[in-house]
Amino acid sequence: MSSYRLMLAATAAFSFVAAGGSQAQQPAAPEPVKIGIVTFLTGPAAAPFGIPDRNAAEAMIESLNAGKGPAPYNQVGLGGAKIEPKFLDEAGSAADQVTQYRNLVERDHVDVVLGYVSSGNCLAIAPVAEEMKQLTVLDICGTPRIFEEKSYHYVFRANPTATMDNVGAAKYVLEKLKDVSVYSGINQNYAWGQDSWRDFDLTMKDLAPKTTTDKVLWPKLFSGEYGAEISTLLTSNAQIIHSSFYDGDLEAFIYQSVARGLPKRIPYVLTSGETSLYRLGPKMPDGMFIGARGPHSFFAHGGDLNTWLTKIYVDRFGLQPVYPSYMMAQSLLGLKTAWEKAQAKKGGARPTQEEVIAAFEGIEFNTPSTTVKLANGKGHQGVTDTAYGTYKFDKDESKPTLVDITRYPADCVNPPPDVDSVTWLQGGMKGAKCN
């Protein structure tokens, strides 16, 4: 071979090696994971639920994308791929939400859809998710009906149902007021209020069959004026008032009833009361029984994870995270655990949607609040423990606190895997493991 040709061959060989070498030194950044996050950004449900929900997502995604999550969540984003969120407003009718969902899937090609506060929207979206074969994680909505009426392959919910809130409420009431014989309720006259009262009422009948109800009230959602209801309760002989009120309605009810001395006479058990505690502060009377729809915020026992979430949230927004923020944490961290489990099983390669779904089913993971296990709904519905406490405003430090906290294990307040909540409650809560 001539020396010229030898030089040419050597150069070619060298360039191949060099090109191959430089490629090995700079691997392509993994494609980001697109998550469509849907929650109330406007309207009356924005301030108590949607905004804290969105804020937690923003703060967490920023921290996770920088790889700053505490173990076992210290991988960047999801398995090394950064999370690219797209925030959408849940305001509008269920039909609007379905259209928006279809756009997310067909036009924006998101990898996951995560969100939904309103039970009505969750019930509308779940079948559409199944039809479009899109992995969807339902976030805050509480209706037990999602996985009790149908089975889903593509839909998951890390957060427990609202049944847990009202079973916990009844247990706490019976623990604190040992001689209670009459109870009353004021709930908004729509699905959330009706389901909440039904679960509380059934539990009370199971655990304290001799108690009776007096004056069960059903004001309109967002009514805001409760003079007649307060008069009715003042003239009743109830010893506890159950309410699933939230946000404006709860605050209006508190202002108006405090002005007329009702809480001094009859305490309330507020299953969704935690979101208003920071806003009401000293205006919320001491001695009210408060729930946070799970072991969140004041009840959180997630150790380092709780410290992390509180810190990134307060640093970014100057406010304390409330229970919707913690619920977003559960949804997001559940997805992350499933994704990374599927990826590990595949030797580090990016998992397909089917592989994530397979990993997600029945998974157990830690959150800032507690440990979540997807035990119900054929491995698609999460259960956790819960807690209730009594309100006390700390005047010295000028901040709300909850005292006399009681925790209830997951198997005590959630129905067993194959029984729907109403049947379970009507059957005397068979299979519940409390102690």
């Binding site: 406007t42 009356p44 006259n189 009514s223 003079g227 007649a228 009715t232 003042l234 404006g248 001395g261």
Partner: protein
């Protein structure tokens, strides 16, 4: 002293009925004027209410935080509401409604609905998604004990205020020049114009007055509610129902309508809570079956 149960319930229904009637009257009186004079279904009325509530909650909240005398605070609520109503009413009437007078009624309704939606977002732009509380007037007014029934002084004050407003409104409509002008235009706009009345000016004055009354309703209710997004939506429907019952343009009608609905609703809450949700509309339907033009307006003569 032992109160017999039925006397107590009856007393509770009476007081609750009056308080709710006062609430309904305050939100409906501005609407009935606009409806009666201009024949406009003013959906923006909800925005006047909301703006009045926000304005009062913030301005009067600052006033009370600074520790100024209480009586001035109550006066400030009225002044803030009137100022907000004046500005909003003028801007909307001169800027927007003037362009659609004479067009089909449906078009006008859609325009006011659009204005309402825009103003809802303006509220969020200005005041964000937080809620505001104006609890000082409620605390200052104290309570009155009637056996186990505790009445709020502020509620009683609202009832008195509504009654005075109704009396003043009726008097003004019958015995002042401007009141008479409004009444004539309510009855027949073309006839009024043919007599040389400046109907355009009457429209502006009416709309601004209605806006001020709407804002006043919001300001008066602000201490009782949590002032947050969406409070304007609920009152539109309630106001329309009361105006439909009492008749468009009749202040006395709005008063009686509010009383009837207030009493029925209070009775429902105490005795049959499940029907409370629709009792106001049941009353409206019943009235309209027998008097489609409302209780207090004369039937309109048919014009060819």
């Amino acid at each position: 002293m032992c109160w017999p149960f039925t006397v107590l319930t009856a007393l509770a229904i009476l007081t609750d009925g009056l308080v709710y009637a006062a609430y309904l009257f305050l939100v409906a009186v501005g609407l009935t004027l606009i409806f009666g004079v201009m024949k406009i279904l003013n959906v923006t009325h909800g925005s006047f209410y909301a703006f009045g509530a926000y304005g009062a909650a913030i301005a009067v909240g600052i006033y009370f935080d600074r520790g100024y005398p209480a009586a001035g605070g109550f006066l400030l609520m009225v002044l803030v509401a009137c100022a907000i109503g004046l500005v909003l009413g003028l801007v909307l009437e001169r800027g927007l409604l003037r362009l659609v007078y004479g067009k089909d009624e449906v078009v006008v309704v859609l325009v006011t609905y659009a204005a309402f939606l825009i103003l809802e977002d303006v509220i969020q732009l200005i005041w964000g998604t937080n809620s505001y509380a104006l609890y000082q007037p409620l605390d200052l007014a104290g309570t009155i004990d009637a056996g186990p029934l505790v009445l709020s002084g502020y509620d009683i004050g609202l009832v008195v205020f509504a009654a005075l407003l109704a009396a003043a409104g009726s008097f003004a409509l019958k015995h002042t020049t401007w009141g008479r002008l409004l009444t004539v235009v309510i009855f027949d706009r073309e006839l009024a114009a043919s007599f040389g009345i400046n109907v355009s000016l009457v429209y502006t004055v009416t709309f601004v007055l209605g806006a001020m009354l709407g804002a006043l309703g919001g300001a008066a209710m602000a201490p009782k509610i949590s002032v947050t997004l969406g409070i304007g939506v609920e009152v539109i429907v309630l106001a329309f129902a009361v105006v439909a019952i009492g008749g468009m343009g009749s202040v006395g009608g709005a008063f009686i309508g509010a009383l009837i609905v207030g009493m029925c609703r209070a009775a429902a809450v105490h005795l049959v809570p499940q029907v409370e949700l629709f009792v106001i509309y049941a009353v409206m339907a019943l009235v309209l079956v027998f008097r489609p033009q409302g209780l207090f307006t004369r039937a309109q003569p048919r014009k060819i």
